[in-house]
């Protein structure tokens, strides 16, 4: 029984210049406890898919279940089961770390005492204890990310969605974050669904990759299987493999122009 499964999940936006099919039909499954890398070029529909799976955006077609809850009929169940960290994060720079963590606990219906205890626990787990009384705006990029993730873990979700979690982080903070994601999975069995543009990150972190392009899944498999199939050999770089799959690589030198 997969923890996430989608069938032709689609989203069309109505704009002034006519409909835009951001996601044209995504079929994928994620196993419990898996770290899934969701890759694709800019505009491929990654964030839109994430926003649908986290109930932020209603699909215009298809269906999905997350942790046994149907997206269309049980949004509340989906919300209880998943945590989401958006690209932009989601904390007010003027508010203290402690207040954000406690309020988040209260939004998940914890009592005042429970919320305070959970905030302390999360701060300990994510190495935020010394920062609790700082305003969120004064944190470094890596600290901010840890706070964003702490917020999303408040209710011990079964599934954690991370949208480009390491964009803008320095190498040390990225390595820390990778460790954190692995630790989450190993210690709590949390399923992690993450998008990234860094192929080394996908290679190092993800058990399996799903590659989307123009709103549909174009390839999936373990990093090595994809390298073998699309990159030509198991030693191929994920970069070349990715470009081969999405067809956005440099034009071969001997390609003749179709028309002049």
């Amino acid at each position: 029984m997969p923890i996430i499964s989608t069938a032709s999940l689609a989203r069309t936006f109505q704009t002034r210049r006519g409909p835009v099919e951001a996601v044209r039909g995504i079929d994928l499954t994620v196993r419990e406890g898996e770290i899934l890398g969701f890759l694709g070029p800019n505009g491929a529909g990654k964030t839109t898919t994430l926003r649908m799976l986290t109930t932020l955006l209603e699909p215009t077609g298809g269906a999905a279940t997350v942790a046994g809850h149907d997206l269309a009929t049980d949004a509340a169940g989906v919300r209880r089961a998943c945590g989401y960290v958006a690209q932009s994060g989601g904390v007010d720079p003027q508010i203290s770390v402690r207040e954000e963590l406690v309020t988040q606990g209260r939004l998940y219906r914890l009592s005042k005492t429970q919320a305070a205890a959970r905030a302390a626990e999360l701060a300990r787990d994510l190495d935020l204890t010394d920062l609790l009384d700082r305003r969120c705006g004064t944190l470094s990029g890596g600290q901010r990310r840890r706070l964003d993730i702490a917020m999303a873990l408040t209710h011990r979700p079964k599934v954690l969605f991370l949208d480009e979690p390491t964009t803008g982080l320095d190498p040390a903070s990225r390595a820390d974050l990778w460790d954190l994601v692995r630790r989450l999975r190993d210690a709590h069995g949390t399923t992690v669904f993450l998008t990234t543009h860094y192929l080394d990150e996908a290679d190092a972190l993800a058990d399996r990759l799903v590659i989307v392009d123009r709103g549909v899944v174009v390839a999936e498999g373990t990093p090595s299987a994809l390298k073998l199939e699309y990159g030509g050999s198991i030693g191929a770089s994920l970069q070349d493999t990715f470009l081969a799959i999405t067809g956005r690589g440099p034009v071969p030198a001997d390609a003749a122009p179709v028309a002049v």
Partner: protein
């Protein structure tokens, strides 16, 4: 659950307001300037109503405070959208109505507080009005703030950039102020202007509040004022909640 959630959201934003006491005082400045520099011009002018010129002017200024302040409330949600705060909250099981109500009740609290300050200043300038009437006036300000802040949030969730939001709000607020007779009673003007102003919902609120300030609580104006204020609030909160539920579409 709704009460619990609303209280949490309300608390979060009220603490935010209390942190910026300067902004709180600054909000009263514009109506205060009207009170001090415009109010004295009206003493002795025949305004057609019962009571003194202050009993005509102060209700208008209070509603003006609510009108301009609440209509611009949406700017905050544009900021919060940029920070990802709104989405982060919408992923939690929190009630969508509470996401809106907690915020607009904060606005209402802030404006009633500012209204109290303004009335105190008006008393010093020469306003005399029955206490019950003044309290009824605060209720109208609160209702108007809830309505307009809801609509402002809804609009801000839709347009998403301050560049679009500012001009749109200005386009609404100026005619609303002029056509509702906030400054001077519309009955002073030509017939067409008076008729036109009846299409402006705030007109009914101003008339009702002016009646309250002279101690007339059982008039037609009061009835229409209450009906329009309550109806408008229900409509605005419904629209606002819908936007919080489906935002991002």
């Amino acid at each position: 659950m709704l009460l619990h959630d609303t209280a949490i959201i309300y608390g979060r934003y009220l603490r935010q307001s209390l942190r910026s006491r300067f902004a709180l005082l600054f909000g009263v400045l514009m109506p205060l300037l009207y009170l001090v520099f415009f109010g004295p011009l009206l003493t002795g002018l025949p305004l057609g109503g019962r009571g003194s010129s202050w009993q005509v002017l102060v209700p208008g200024l209070l509603l003006q405070l609510g009108l301009f302040g609440a209509l611009f409330a949406g700017f905050m949600i544009i900021l919060e959208n940029g920070q990802g705060v709104v989405e982060r909250m919408r992923v939690t099981p929190v009630s969508r109505l509470a996401l809106l109500l907690g915020r607009v009740l904060r606005e209402a609290t802030v404006f009633v507080l500012q209204a109290v300050l303004l009335v105190l200043a008006a008393l010093a300038m020469g306003l005399r009005a029955p206490l019950i009437g003044i309290v009824i006036g605060f209720a109208f300000v609160a209702l108007l703030t809830v309505s307009l802040a809801s609509l402002s949030y809804a609009l801000a969730m839709k347009v998403r950039t301050p560049q679009e939001f500012g001009p749109l709000v200005n386009a609404v607020s100026m005619p609303s102020m002029l056509l509702s007779g906030l400054m001077l009673p519309m009955t002073l003007g030509p017939r067409w202007l008076d008729v036109l102003s009846h299409f402006m919902p705030f007109r009914y609120l101003v008339d009702a509040m002016r009646d309250a300030y002279v101690g007339a609580y059982t008039t037609d104006h009061m009835l229409y004022g209450v009906l329009v204020a309550v109806g408008f609030a229900v409509l605005a909160v419904t629209v606002g909640t819908r936007v919080f539920r489906t935002a991002g579409a």
